[in-house]
Structures are given as structure tokens and as C-alpha cells.
Amino acid sequence: MSTTRETAPRVSGGFRVRRDSRLSRYGMLGLVAVCIGLAGLPYVVYESVTSSLVTLFVLIAMASMWNLLAGFGGMASIGQQAYVGIGGYTVIWAADQGINPFLGIAVAALFSAVLAVPTSLLAFRLRGDYFAVGTWVIAEVYRLLVIKSDSLGGPSGRALTGLSDMGLTARNAATYWAALVVAVVCVAAGYLLLRGRVGLSLTAVRDDEIAARAAGVDVTTAKRIVYLVSAAGCGAAGGVVVVDALSIQPTAIFSVQWSAYMIFIVVIGGIGYLEGPLLGAVVFFALQQYLADYGTWYLILLGVVAAASAVWMPRGLWGQVVHRTGLRLFPVGYRLDRTDQQ
């Protein structure tokens, strides 16, 4: 992280421009502490706790990627399940080649990003809402192509090989750590990406795309980078899903439901804030666990809350937090502080 740049604030007449506040530095330290605590969890709690946390981490990873795509890149996709599926199948394929499935998750991220290049060439021809449905069609194409492959199990899917010689406890702990790493990397990648050049370009685009283009901002490249990163993250998350479930089924792994989860989490948590998906995923996860006995009602409730948020609370829960307290855990913008007030 480029902390040296931030510790030298530019002072100009009673104001100074800086990215972080004291609050956000404490928040960041708190987050690091939480991560360390979470990493130690398999030594402390029952496996049922860690295994349900895997679901939460997967949701955080996916939602962070969707937030990056839609909240910062302006590309609302309903087709990210394409990369969840591709990532999942990459782990299956890698295992067939003798690659350890946990390593396969990294391969899955890489391969998803590679496939995202030609996909973006097509999808970027669409704008706005049409991009959304177009990406969904592309995800369907990937599903239908996978189904045609017998070695990948066709329409009924396959079991994951290569983990059978691992003990149950060790495997569960390893899956938990893999999920945690993927979630942390996804959140951190978004943070670092947005603090850099890409983030600056995207902010310019968000304010005024035509002006940004006229000022020489390479909008398409910035968007493409975001799209590739988002694909990689969703691919890794898909890999975790398969490692966790030990099997794959094309309809489930390519289901638009993944996009629904991502969208609901981000919209409720707060679109365009890196903290939003974290908060939203916790809310989503809590509701899912709490209403587990009532069928799909949790999804109906979440749909209602998400649609209502989109209309009446467009900046989500974290938007409310920022509005009330000004707290930013991940300061990607700049803030103006008065220095003459003691």
C-alpha cells in the first residue's frame, strides 16, 4: 500500500487534502484484526460455524466484484454467473490434470479473466440496461456450451476429484481459509484498484463521461480492467463454491441466482461504497440463516428490501452510515479537513 503518499498531506491555507481520517485508520486496523481473528477461527469453533462462514465469504467476494463492476464501473451486469460457472468448472478441469483444487482456485481466477477478454469485446457493444441482459445471454451461452462437453459431465454435472485423500477436518479448515483469502483479496483488490489510476478514470467517467473522454481519459481500458478483475474474483468465488460442495451441476453454478444475490447484497449494503457489500452480505447472510426454515421467503423479503432500497435509499445502508457519521473504512476519495480549527 502506498502509505507514504498519504502521510504527507498537502497544506493550503487552513485546509488540507487527505484520503484517510483518524476514524478510517482505526477502522482499517479493526478490519485487519477481524481478519486475523477470523483466520484463527478453525482452531476455536465447531466446523458447522466455519462451514457456514464459507458461504458468507463467497457472498462477500462476489458482491464486492459486482459492486466494483456496477457501482464504480457503471456496468450493471446480470451475467456474472458466467464467471462463477467458468471458475467452478476450471477447478474441476484442473483437478483432472492433477492440480490441487485449492491451487485450482487461483487457476480459475486467471482463466476467468482470460475468457473475460473476448467476452468484453461483445458485451461492451451494449450500454446500460442492455448490457445487463446481454451479459445474461452470454452466461447462458457458456452454460449451454459446457453442457455439450461430456468430459465435464454434461447436463448432470460431476464430482470434484483430488480431495479424497484429505482428512475431513483438514479439508474443511482449508476450504474455510481459501474462502477467507478469496474474500479478503477481492475486497483489497477493489480498494487498491480504486485508489490508483483506474479509480481516478472511473470517478471522472461517473461525473461526466463525455468530458472524461475529451480530457483524454481512456474510459474503455479502465472499464475493461474492472471487468477483468471482476471476472477473476467471481471465478475464484465459483472455485470456492465447488471446492466446498465437492461437486458441480451446470444449472446451479451458472444460475442467475448468483447475480440476484450479488445485486441484492450490494443494493442493500450500499452501491458505490467498498464497505457496502460487506455490510450487505452480513445482512443477507443473517436473513438467509434466520429464515432458513421458511423456503424462499427470505429471497422474497430481500427482493422487496432491495427494490425498495433502489428507489427510496439509493445509497444503501452504508450510505446512511456515511451520511450520519462520515465514516469511511476504505477511503478511496479525498477529503478536505480544516486545519485551523483546533
Partner: protein
Amino acid sequence: MGLLNAVVQGVLLGGLYALYAAGLSLMFGVMRIVNLAHGDLGVVAAYVALVLVTHTFLPVWAAVVVTVLLSAVAGYLLQRLLLQRSLSSGPLATLLVTFGLSVILQNVLQELFSADTRSLDTGTFATAAIHLGEISVSYLGLLGLGLALATIVGVQLYLSRTATGRMMRAASDDPEVATLVGADARHVYAVATSIALASVALAGMVFAMRSSFSPTIGSMSLIFAFEAVVIGGLGSLWGTLLGGLGLGLAQSIVGYYDPADSILAGHLLFLAVLALRPQGILAARGT
């Protein structure tokens, strides 16, 4: 001969897709809204008709008429109460609202009617067909095509001949000036959504008569309708009709050689149009 039959079936199927797509095309044309719950609203109509037929003494045709009217009213209210508000809550809001609505509708239907497949029974009409040699033209297929043509011609006439229809086109060009000449944009938009829902209700019910349906098939209908709109070129209902026919033909002809590839063929046609003729798509987006 088999291939010729596939072509005929493709045209009939394409008619149904065009009927699905007409409302999607209208809503996009007038309000720049892509209603992601479009297909699901057709499924809701099918279930409403099913309930009317099984729990009242209404014959099927009367249930269809009642459902279309109910859908029109529902469309008006949907626009006034929900979509209109979302139009002023940022560019993503309508997308998120309609997507949320889609998930809500699918899951509510699942809770109410279970995930089992149903069908709307039309008795002997369902199987009746005109036979010309090896080609069989089903009455239901003709009904779908006929309704698609009637709907598209009707909406086209409405847009060009009536004051409200004209105002829809005007509002599509410049919503602010439309209010400056006296249009209440909320009302004009609500009428457009009302028409869109009435037409997709028809499509959903014709689909339900042709084949079995379940709470989640709405997503597939939306995708097909969307593909028809894009293949035909945005902004024109006649284009949408052609797009629907093109999609139906692609699915049917490829399906004749290998049924497993039928849907994939439709998607690939869509992607090919996207790759080769993107300018039409981009042009309609700019305002």
C-alpha cells in the same frame, strides 16, 4: 419436407416471441426501461388465467379477456406506483427494481403454486391443426402469430393515430418538452406500461396453452423477447416482429438437426447480430 415443416414451425414460434417482445420494445422505446420482470409478468398472467378457469365458471376465452384487462390495470399501477419513482432515483434504479420484482414474482409463484409444471387446458383446440402434406400448422401456433400481428399493428396505429400515442413518441424524443406541451408524463408512461403488460399477458397465456409452464420460465421468455428486440433493431415494432421471426426460425431450423442446440442457436444469432451490426444498438441508446 421435414425442413420445410421446421421453417413453418419456426415462423409460428417466432410469432409468439414477437408477441412477448412487443411490450418490451414499447417500454424501452417510450421510457428507456428494460423491464426485467417482463417474462415473469407473462407467467403471472398464465397462473391468473389458470386460477380463473379452475375456480370459476369462466370459459378459457373469457378468462383470457379478464386476465388481459387485469394486466392492463396492473401495468398502469406498476408504472405509477413503482417504476415512475425509480426513474428519478438514478440510472440503475429501474434495472434493480425490475430485477427485484422478477425474483419476487418467481418465488411468490413458487410458494403459491409449487414448482410443478402446469398447463392451460384448451381442450381439443390445443391439438387441432391444419395439415398440408407433412406440414402441420397448429391452431395455437396460428393464434400466437395472429395475436402478434394484431398487437403490433394495433400498437403501431395507436402510436400514430391517437393523441396519447403521439405523445408517447414525443416523450420518447424529449420528455421535458412533452410536459411543456401539456403531457402528464406519468400518465403517458403508465398507459405505455399498461399496453406492454396486456400484450405480455396474452403472450404468457398463449405460451401456457402451447406447452407446460412453471414459476421460473419467465426468465427464458425475457431472454427470448430481449433477443428478438435486439435482432430486429431497437426502436421499431416491425423490427421486433422480424426479430421474433428470425429467432424462431433459427431455433426451429437448428432444432430440426439437433434439438439440443436449438436454444444455443438463438443465442448465437443474437451474438452475431451484436458483433456485426452494433451501430443500430448503440444509436438508440443515445439521447
